[in-house]
Amino acid sequence: MTATSETSARKFGYSEKVMDHFKNPRNIGVLEDADVTAKVGSVACGDLIKLYLKFDPDHDQIKDIRFESYGCAANIATSSMMTEMVKGKTIDDARKVTFKEIAEQLGGLPRIKLHCAVLSRQGLEAAFLKYEAKRGRVKIDESFVNKVLRGVLDPVEGVDVISAKIVESVAVEQGKRVIMQLSAKAGSELAKSLTDDIHDAFEGLDIELNLKFKD
């Protein structure tokens, strides 16, 4: 492709490939019989995806994957590309796909939109973790909870709630009761948004969530 035609294909700093996946996203919608779902991101950030995955249990292979998006063009395009890249792969192979490769496959992303590729990759990891927990292969402990929380964003900073130090402590009792201490003030807009997002992140797991906010 010549430089001129590429320039004319670019809109808003997006490559032709991004525009293609934005206009015609692959694998969109709901999988009614999904084995696992994962919702990562935040409404408050304007950047959220929900993934639906169906596995071949004998080979841990992704039989089908769908997504829903509340977000910008890059959010839609990266989710679409990610689902294409991992569909049919085993969990082990799909885990080797990096967010950089997703961005590369899209012909690159504007720097400030790279986080969208990161989010789609986090969504995938959250789905795998939940699947493994459901199959009883990983224990629901503090480390598991922390990993799932990597997909929940601080709406103010746009980074995950662990890095943003919003989640101050996590305790798990009998692999079932999850108690979290959060730095947000009870009753605040932030607390409301976090409550929604954290419940969404753990949706489908057989656990009890107990979120504690500051007075």
Binding site: I28, K39, D47, L48, N75
Partner: protein, 400 residues
């Protein structure tokens, strides 16, 4: 593979509804400007000058008169600048630099144009104080808040019309409070100038910033009204042009074009736009889970519509609209270079979801009924399509 979310767009004329960002030049404006670039290309001389200088001087002074008349000012109270941002800088820094004024505080609202907010923020780091007034849900400054905050105030800077949600502040009341308390009143009227009535005699303005490119004039030219007796010390150094407040070679063609654009923007245009605006708002509000940002009727800028749509994100709407030849703007964080949601929508007290899904459509004097019908239909189609994709969509009916 799933079905394409949207069909490929049909080739069509652009429907441009981002006239609060900038407007297309009026061809009649271009005609008069050409003359002052190609034939009469001199710069204004002083009291004496050779012919080219004389011609330029006359043209600039005539333009000054045209613009002064439009706001009921005297010609010598108008200084030409390079646009709204420069006018705001000269007005506010000019008051801060002046030894004539002693008070230390600058008061403004939370929904001002970025230039005003950043200038006053900078002053607050240079030994001045600042007060940022809250606005109500429709974007209005509460004059009682202003009255409560007038201690040691040098200047109040409150805009006439808001750039995003079109709120028209009660500038007469604000001016009254300022005048009664010996406070300078600066008003950024860039969005409203020549569209809404501004009378510097009946409302008590001291400084008013205006601009050319939002009324089909050229970019890179604006003006500042400086009331007789207001003593500014310009942040710019150079020659004595424009009373020393805006030194440097004036943009003669731009100034002439600015005045022509003012002449060509009439009250009838404003009336027509406000009628069309109301039809557009009505049509957009028939879309489910939608909400108007800003006031209605006469307290709203005649060419502004701003709607928030739940469960969808503004940048995605904007891009789908662009693919269909419709140009609008959004307060979404994702569309801003800093990934920050609109400070204006946030100041109204709405949710972040409302700011991410806000779309601004702004009309020009040429906008037609047909274009707006296309816009309303296309926005609905795109919002519906994106909601099909949104994980939030199932929450919508339950919540509202």
């Amino acid at each position: 593979m799933s079905q394409p979310l949207v069909p490929e767009p049909q080739t069509q004329k652009l429907v441009y509804l981002d006239n609060a960002q900038t407007t297309r030049l009026d061809p009649a404006v271009l005609d008069v400007m050409k003359q002052f670039m190609m034939e009469n290309y001199g710069v204004p001389g002083g009291e004496f000058g050779y012919r080219l200088e004389e011609e330029a001087r006359e043209a600039v002074e005539q333009a000054r008169e045209t613009i002064a008349r439009r706001i009921n000012a005297s010609p010598q109270e108008i200084i030409f600048t390079s646009g709204g941002t420069e006018s705001n800088n000269i007005a506010i820094f000019g008051a801060a630099n002046s030894n004539y004024y002693k008070a230390k505080r600058f008061v403004t609202s939370k929904i001002e144009h970025t230039s005003v907010l950043r200038i006053i923020d900078k002053l607050s780091r240079q030994g001045f104080q600042k007060t940022l007034l809250d606005v109500d849900q429709q974007g209005f400054v509460n004059t009682a808040d202003l009255k409560a905050a007038i201690e040691d105030v040098r200047m109040v800077s409150v805009q006439h019309a808001n750039q995003e949600i079109g709120t028209l502040q009660d500038v007469a009341a604000i001016g009254e409070i300022c005048r009664n308390n010996g406070i300078l009143f600066h008003c950024d009227a860039v969005q409203s100038f020549a569209k809404e009535k501004i009378d510097v005699q009946s409302a008590k303005f001291d400084l008013v910033s205006i601009s050319s490119h939002l009324i089909h004039g050229p970019k890179g030219v604006g003006a500042l009204y400086v009331r007789e007796g207001v003593k500014l010390q310009s942040p710019l150094e150079g020659d004595d042009r424009e009373r020393g407040l805006r030194p440097g070679t004036p943009n003669v063609a731009g100034i002439v074009g600015f005045a022509k654009a003012v002449e060509l923007m009439t009250h009838e245009h404003a009336l027509r736009m406000s009628g069309l605006r109301d039809e557009l708002i009505g049509a957009l509000l028939t879309i489910s889970d939608s909400r108007l940002n800003g006031p209605t009727g006469e307290r709203r800028l005649c060419n502004n519509a701003n709607i928030s749509f739940g469960a969808v994100e503004g940048e995605a709407i904007l891009m789908h609209l662009d693919l269909r030849g419709l140009v609008v703007n959004t307060g979404s964080a994702c569309y801003s270079q800093k990934l920050e949601p609109s400070h204006v929508i946030r100041a109204l007290g709405g949710t972040l979801e409302e700011s991410h899904g806000s779309i601004r459509l702004s009309l020009s004097k040429w906008t037609t009924k047909e274009e707006l019908a296309y816009a309303a239909e296309t926005v609905k189609e795109v919002v519906d399509k994106l909601r099909e994709l949104s994980p939030l969509r199932r929450k919508v009916p339950a919540q509202r």
